[in-house]
Symmetry: C2
Subunit: 219 residues, 2 copies
């Protein structure tokens, strides 16, 4: 059962939302301010957090930051009465999954909640990745390079890769390709061309993210 946390200082609204969502088949908890919301979120892994922006003790914006810190995977839907585009942009950049303007109809909220739930499921499923193995693959610069080349060239022959990577001993490349294959990152088609799998593509994207995120480039 999907778990939803509702944070709003207005008791009426809070309870009525909780009621609706409970009826709709979700497990709900409530919080009356940002601090409480952050604490409950740290404690329980909610799928969705409905967060009012204007609350006492801790504002929603701050709570949002806190929540994302402990639960980066949680989908936070921000509710606000004071709405401008700048505002919305700011909130989404801070990591909110969506933004709903008060007053809203229950139907609207339900639609958004369901969409986010679906998205969360979509993002998580399908892929079959062994994090340990993948990290192992990425820990080796040769393999990181292979992934990059395979992404760039879509598909490559063995010797092509060998030349690009300037490998001295071709069996060394065989070795690394095997590891990538066993980790589900690369495959071969019937013509022996090497290419990334769907998972491999994901891994590549992670890799570029990491490199962008961690590398200091002087400019």
């Amino acid at each position: 059962m999907k778990k939803i946390l509702i944070a709003d200082d207005n008791a009426d609204l809070r309870e009525s939302i909780a009621e609706v969502l409970t009826e709709a088949g979700f497990y709900t908890e409530t919080a009356t301010n940002g601090k409480e919301a952050a604490a409950k979120s740290a404690e329980t892994d909610f799928d969705i957090v409905l967060l009012d922006m204007l609350m006492p003790v801790m504002k929603g914006a701050e709570a949002l930051t806190e929540i994302k810190k402990t639960r980066p995977a949680a989908k936070v839907i921000v509710m606000t009465a004071f709405s401008t585009i700048e505002n919305a942009v700011e909130i989404i950049k801070k990591g909110a999954a969506d933004y709903i303007v008060k007053p809203f109809k229950v139907e609207q909220l339900l639609t958004i909640v369901r969409r986010e739930i679906e998205e969360a499921g979509f993002e998580k499923d399908i892929l079959n990745i062994d994090l340990d193995r993948v990290m192992n693959c990425l820990s080796n610069p040769i393999r990181r390079n292979i992934v990059k080349y395979l992404h760039r060239n879509k598909e490559m022959r063995f010797m092509e890769l060998n030349r690009e990577l300037e490998m001295d001993d071709h069996t060394k490349l065989v070795f690394h390709l095997k590891i990538l294959r066993e980790a589900g990152i690369s495959t071969q088609d019937k013509n022996k061309n090497y290419m990334l799998t769907r998972e491999g593509l994901r891994v590549f994207q992670c890799l570029t993210f990491i490199e962008n995120y961690l590398s200091a480039r002087s400019d």
Copy 2:
């Protein structure tokens, strides 16, 4: 010199923006549709891409996706005449750095561009990270766990970590802590508390990104 790509099908607007930005000391190139923008972006590593939403051949939204695929680090500022909150939210979720509504004053645009440049610089500089070492650290599940605990608890004593991780032999933990320290991910204060460095925080963020991005969790 910071490089900016301006993509808009309106020649007047395009050229006048280019002129202003060039005068302001940026290197500029232009594109007349999304496809061209994506191509130019793939070829050159622009710091900023100004992207109109309504263009022939390839819409801005699609172009945005393409650009982020090859240049996840590029800051894409979306320009649009048709603006609603839903719209803005959607665009930001797709990875745009900012959103500006047409018609806008040149001053506004300059402010936004400068802010994004500054942010990009802030994100890139300073950090001194050895990718190879970091990947090596992350390839070990024990060390990944240490990083997580250190992030969660801000600072921890040795034995505290030891208990949390349920290590059998404490010297094993010493070993891994040493590696993390040498990679610049963790440090100790004068009281021997272990904690993440600034770089370590970054590494933690990468880690959660990776886990979110790659992991399939059954629910």
